[in-house]
Amino acid sequence: MSKHTVSRRAFLMGSAALSGAGLVRAANIKTRLWPGNRNDVQCGIIGYGPQGRDITATLARVPGAQVAAICDTYGPMLRRAQRDAPEATRHEDYREILNNPDIQAIIVATPTHLHRDIAVNALQAGKNVYCEAPMASSIEDAKAIARAARDATGQIFQVGQTYRSNPQHRSVFQFMRSGAIGKPAMARGQWHAKESWRRASPSADRVRELNWRLDPAITTGLIGEAALLQMDVAYWVLGELPASVHGFGQIMAWEDGREVPDTIQAIFEFPSGLHMMFDATLASSFDEAYEAYYGSDSTILFRDRGKAWMFKEVDAPMLGWEVYARTDRFYKETGIALLANATQLDAQNVDPTEDDPNVETPLWYALQEFMDNHAFGPYPPAANWERGLEATAVAITANQAIMERAQRDIDPASYTLG
């Protein structure tokens, strides 16, 4: 592995910064170094379902990354891999990729319950690992991965809680932590879609494997597979982890013999006394996904992968920059748009009230952080093994509460390796 050698990219970025051109220039440098630079991080993708494909397509546009190998156990997925990344080698056994000394980074995008062996073996093989969220489907598995990540000093382990790397979320996080909503009152989130979660294949065995999200023995349910990234933002901006959760689950739309609820509600109780309610459904797509944080001065709404607005109470104090801000109408409410880099856009003569033309998806920023870590690190990423273990532990306990329609305390020991 060449992680200790200074890559050409790192050198160029460093010299650009030294010359005073600043990081604004970094965006222009990236394409000149592509592709096939021998310093590009050689990545192996394990698991080529929808998430593996998204990651592959995104890595193709992240500076310093090269998708060199793809593994899946199902023929049609490997055929898709060939069309999406023709230069990558294809494998049915992930250990072939781990055994390849040229591969530096492993991206684990298999079904959740299969993460453990792959992530632990990859770390023990000396690879840097990006593991999709939830990290695992049992707390025991999550801890095994966390332990391997903690013990792999000098290696990178990042979990796919992508909003932690998103500049837009980071900006609103600072804003919330500065007390902009006043005294917090409560929080609420939702994830709504109209889809069955069923997957099809001409092979009956394959149908069973594909439908792991509907297998009560291994799934983390809607609260894990759909809501985890949004809930992770809550732990981050609130600065605390839930102490208990009360869950409800129903089958309201898809009466096809499933046991896993297609509609859930969970109420999380935080040590500060604040409660957050999250509901998720596969029965209705109305209003899709968002989170709202309600306070005495204002409410902040996150939606559309990191856009945010503030809705002020009439008696709230005036904020200095408010008069310049863009406002959007939401029926009878007026939201002040919270933009990550309004002043920077202004300096570039881009109207700050327009959508930022340079914005990328949260997954792109997360993978960019992972790649940058190869050049400048290793340092603990924003979504490190601790954040992964915490969010996974909450999701697993909440899913148990939902399946039991019960209240459950969350064992603080589940959040740490002790």
């Binding site: 929808p50 990344a85 997957r199 294949s201 033309p357």
Partner: protein
């Protein structure tokens, strides 16, 4: 035998699937995966979403070569090939001309001559540099932009068809906005294929003709719908990228071919082509059937090239 219908709003149109099979749960499962793929392609190819790969490319490709994903690169290669085969009548760089004619958000307006000439300098697939080795795209002129609107819907339908077949679907009809459709197998009761009617470009309530498709796609284009009147003449919203004026070719074109993407592109190109050129293009694509309607001083002339012959059975 069970039937599942599914729909999705994407790419400024409505996609619908009609799926037949033994198990409705599996039909829906396969359909959802295919719809999700269309949504993914919309996010990648959208001209209007600033985070789409196309928007990123358009924002940067006149400054420097931009590296794109292998799938988008091969789509652009295909678009360049079709551009060559149609002698420039199909062109995904037509955006600046569309804007200058007021068709991007409005009903259209006659531009000043200097505006039209200026837009022409920013149009032309020959001004797009595709570098196979680097997998990069660059524009020779500032102000150029790729808009895959004339090929995206067909591409999305074609990819959805691949997903449905992989999911075990053997009988299905897919369409996007009723103008591009793809047939998988045949309907349960009709081994000839899926019957498709084509309405008269001058009178929507009248059926012009019909055909049937089986393991084949069909696309219909017409410059009607959006346009404006000038000097007693109707000017429609399809621009001939070579001349920079609204098209003066066929008033309706229908193309059947195994590839939905090729159908979509060629049916648009035929609107900008004369009869003889249209025939030549049809001969370049193996297994293509076309139907064009030309307006001869008020009289309708219908040119069918194997359009009503039976579909190829060896697909």
């Amino acid at each position: 035998m069970q039937t599942v219908r599914m729909a999705l709003n994407a790419m400024a149109t409505r996609f619908e699937f009609l799926l037949h099979g033994d198990d409705a749960v599996l039909l829906r499962g396969a359909g959802e995966e295919a719809l999700a793929e269309i949504k993914r392609l919309e996010q990648q190819l959208s001209f209007y979403d600033p985070t789409s790969e196309i928007s990123q490319l358009n924002a940067n490709a006149s400054k420097e070569p931009v590296r794109v994903t292998p799938r988008l690169y091969s789509l652009l290669r295909k678009a360049a090939e079709i551009h060559n085969e149609t002698h420039g009548a199909f062109d995904v760089t037509v955006g600046p001309l569309m804007r200058c004619w007021g068709f991007v958000r409005g009903r259209g307006t006659w531009p000043e001559e200097h505006e039209r000439k200026e837009a022409l300098t920013k149009t032309g697939m020959d001004k797009v540099v595709l570098n196979d080795a680097e997998r990069t795209v660059a524009f020779r002129q500032p102000g150029m932009a790729l808009d895959l609107g004339a090929i995206g819907k067909g591409y999305a339908i074609e990819e959805a068809g691949i997903f449905l077949r992989e999911g075990g679907i053997t009988s299905a009809l897919l369409h996007g906005g009723t103008s591009t459709m793809l047939a998988i197998g045949t309907p349960p009761q009709n081994t000839d294929g899926w019957p498709i009617g084509i309405s008269d470009p001058l009178d929507d309530s009248q059926m012009l003709t019909s055909t049937s498709i089986r393991d084949e796609a069909l696309s219909v284009s017409a410059p009607r719908g959006k346009g404006f009147q000038k000097d007693g003449k109707m000017w429609g919203h399809v621009i001939d990228p070579r001349k920079g004026y609204p098209v003066q070719g066929a008033t309706l074109s229908a193309v059947a071919h195994p590839s939905a993407m090729i159908c979509d592109a060629i049916s648009t190109a035929l609107l900008a082509m004369r009869r003889e050129d249209g025939k030549q293009v049809q001969q370049k694509f193996h297994g293509m059937r076309t139907l064009c309607v030309y307006d001869d001083a008020g009289a309708t002339d219908l040119v069918s090239l194997e359009f009503h012959s039976t579909h190829p059975t060896n697909q």
